[in-house]
Symmetry: C2
Subunit: 208 residues, 2 copies
DNA sequence: CACAGCCAACCTACCAGTAGGTAGGCTGGT
DNA sequence: ACCAGCCTACCTACTGGTAGGTTGGCTGTG
């Protein structure tokens, strides 16, 4: 029984893991070969240049993201619940093994990446932003969320702030303590909950 | 006239710049030597191991931070103005030359850094958090800021959220567009402004 | 003053290790 | 016969780091 290029898939999965742990320039073909028990030249057979692997990792990441979003949409009940699932998944991914999200990882050494990957990366972050924006729009529409700022609420701006904060918190919480990720995201979400009496009841408070 | 170890200072400055642009493992002694017009071995004379340079960079960064904070304290008028100065300085640093803040840069390749540097890094992020916390406490005390969430306002939690968001926004705005940094930080700050009629007047709105 | 000694700062020349990448050969399934 | 998949063997470039030598300015001492 041959693996019928199972190896390629395994390479992608190991790469994705190493990417999150050490960044794109933080792992080598040697690392990949070692973990799969093959030789370095064999890795080059599947991904001739490391840039090819980079592109493939972008595709892999996109699938990973979309699969997550689909899951949150299926299981989630309303906007706030979806966001909380997103946050819980993010925290689990990051803190089980000291990883970053693959997007942040690629973003880290973006300046020295080929232009093709940079463009793909912009596209990826757009995909994520689109989903979160959709969730915020849903929350604003059904009254789960509201923006107390003057003017009309802008779900895209809120989503952007949400993502920026989430990524920053994941990043810094590795250093300062995981509990601060939860704390910060709760504090952010709190401020978008509508003003109700229940809001002062911890039972309905945001718990990520 | 000898430089009387001017070289060491220059090495630190070039290192700090390269750190922000490419991360700690993203530049080499060869790079430093080239930029100063000396040989690689001479760099080793000043910093025998790269870890020594790392530690020295932490000290350098601390001075850089403290100097900035002192500046904001002297020039700033109240809490919100201080925060805005902090944000403007951050944006200027980051977007003039596609740099990260040195703390984020070190944080990026933290896992593969020696323990001594990791500890120093925790200390550094504490220094930053302390200053921002102080500013938030000032703002809460003098009524410039308020937290609409239930329970007593926690200036440290607010400061943490502020910093996380700022770092995340700096990081992601390189990819998505600088203007979103300003937009997001404004949106965050807006929600901590007290509810006044003026708040609906754009003239007194937050502009970073 | 002259001179010896010291030392920071720099140099050339090297090391082992690893990076990404290539050339070409073997093998087993279709 | 073909070819994906894997191999050995190799390349160049570069990494952090070391050994050992040269220079030239400061210093204390006769």
């Amino acid at each position: 029984m041959n693996n019928r290029s199972n190896t390629r898939q395994q390479l992608l999965e190991v790469s994705a893991d190493l990417l999150c742990r050490r960044g794109f320039s933080g792992f080598s073909y040697q690392d990949l070969a070692q973990q799969l028990g093959i030789r370095k030249a064999s890795v080059h057979h599947h991904f001739p240049q490391k840039a090819d692997l980079g592109l493939a990792l972008c595709d892999w990441t996109e699938q990973w993201l979309l699969q997550g979003f689909e899951h949150f949409d299926r299981q989630g009940n309303g906007a706030v619940d979806r966001l909380q699932r997103y946050l819980r998944a993010s925290a689990k991914h990051a803190f089980n093994g000291d990883r970053q999200c693959p997007l942040s990882a690629l973003n880290s050494d973006m300046p020295q990446l080929p232009e093709a990957i940079q463009e793909r990366l912009r596209q990826l972050s757009h995909t994520e932003l689109d989903w979160v924006t959709g969730v915020f729009r849903m929350g604003l529409d059904n009254g789960e969320l509201q923006d107390h700022s003057p003017g009309e609420a802008d779900p895209r701006a809120m989503a952007r702030l949400f993502i920026f904060t989430c990524k920053g918190a994941l990043f810094y919480a590795r250093l300062q303590g995981q509990e601060y990720f939860t704390q910060s995201m709760s504090l952010l979400l709190q401020q978008w909950l509508p003003d109700t009496h229940d809001n002062h009841n911890t039972a309905t408070g945001i718990t990520v």
